[in-house]
Symmetry: C2
DNA sequence: CCCATATTGATTGCGCGCAATTGAATTTCG
DNA sequence: CGAAATTCAATTGCGCGCAATCAATATGGG
């Protein structure tokens, strides 16, 4: 039994439903692909954020970590990673850079010596004020209404979660 | 005069339209942000593509380059970059890896010695067959209908292009 | 209590992405 | 024609992302 209702046991047979090009016999076209749209949109966002975050001394991923900590101070690397869907291989050096900049502190937990508690410094807390303006400027730049943005966000999150759940079964032979 | 109708000369005054959180005085929330949704969706796509492309010996950005070449063989680095919105700093090493794998050839143009023509090898052309299946499997994994995917794609592309156009003016002082 | 197992974060290696610079070839214009 | 400006690809440096591996700590069963 498939893990998902969306899994296609007979890919060849039902492929037409997901065919986004006119010529069935040629390679898929770049412009037709949702994947490339998402890929290039994400990079465009990163480029748009860069000049806004640079005065704050943050990169975009660092800004995401700060968002997480502004919501709840004093989280473990694991907790931050599960919120952002990043692992320690990405977070450890990133957090060290945030520590070097002076926005967070890192110390081993006393109850469990395996985990590292990441906490905001005064400078890190204070940064929250300046950062408030950032997403507003971006909203302006995109020129999309509040409800359109919310709708798009919800669709993306839904697809992301379905992809993540399906991830382990996609491409595997259907036993 | 602003370059765009979407530029906000008085950010503070019109900010409410782009406020996606209930508490106006606290930092923006991660879960409210379209930006994080796009960011995490793009990474989820990359993770989903990886096991499908690995048997073909491609990474996702390399797959995008192959898509471009399958559409039109024999393009310059500049042309490929403008389609994918990548620069030579990213493409040059990537193309060298594709050349090492044996999917493309790179040679200086005879008419203009500055440019490098990237062409498919026989192996690169042949790969198109196997790659046809990849986006179909992904469509299955996402479990979204043809029209929903097309709609989402168009919205993302529209926002991306608006962001790219606005990029140069966002965050600048309004003289 | 002791050992097998699991969890947590750090480390290494590789491939992007992008800013900034360089060098060579070409175009523009005086 | 020839100098200056422009274009194109390559290079360098840095910061992610992620797979794979490792060491230290915690936990549960015998």
């Amino acid at each position: 039994m498939p893990l998902l209702p969306y899994t296609c046991p007979t890919n060849a047979g039902r492929a037409e439903r997901f065919q986004h090009r006119t010529d069935m016999n040629s390679a898929p076209k770049l412009s037709d692909q949702l994947c490339f749209a998402a890929y290039s949109f994400a990079h465009a966002l990163n480029r748009a954020y860069r000049p806004l975050l640079e005065p704050l001394g943050l990169t975009y991923p660092q800004y995401l970590v700060m968002l997480v900590l502004w919501e709840a101070d004093g989280q473990t690397v694991k907790e931050i990673g599960s919120r952002l869907r990043l692992d320690s291989g990405t977070l450890t050096p990133l957090l060290k850079r945030l520590e070097a900049t002076g926005y967070v502190s890192r110390q081993r937990g006393s109850r469990d010596e395996r985990q590292v508690i990441v906490a905001l410094t005064d400078a890190g807390r204070a940064l929250s004020e300046k950062a408030t303006r950032v997403p507003l400027d971006l909203g302006c730049a995109m020129g999309a209404g509040r409800e359109e943005i919310a709708d798009l966000r919800d669709r993306l999150v839904a697809l992301r979660d379905r992809l993540a759940d399906a991830g382990c079964s996609v491409g595997e032979p259907e036993t």
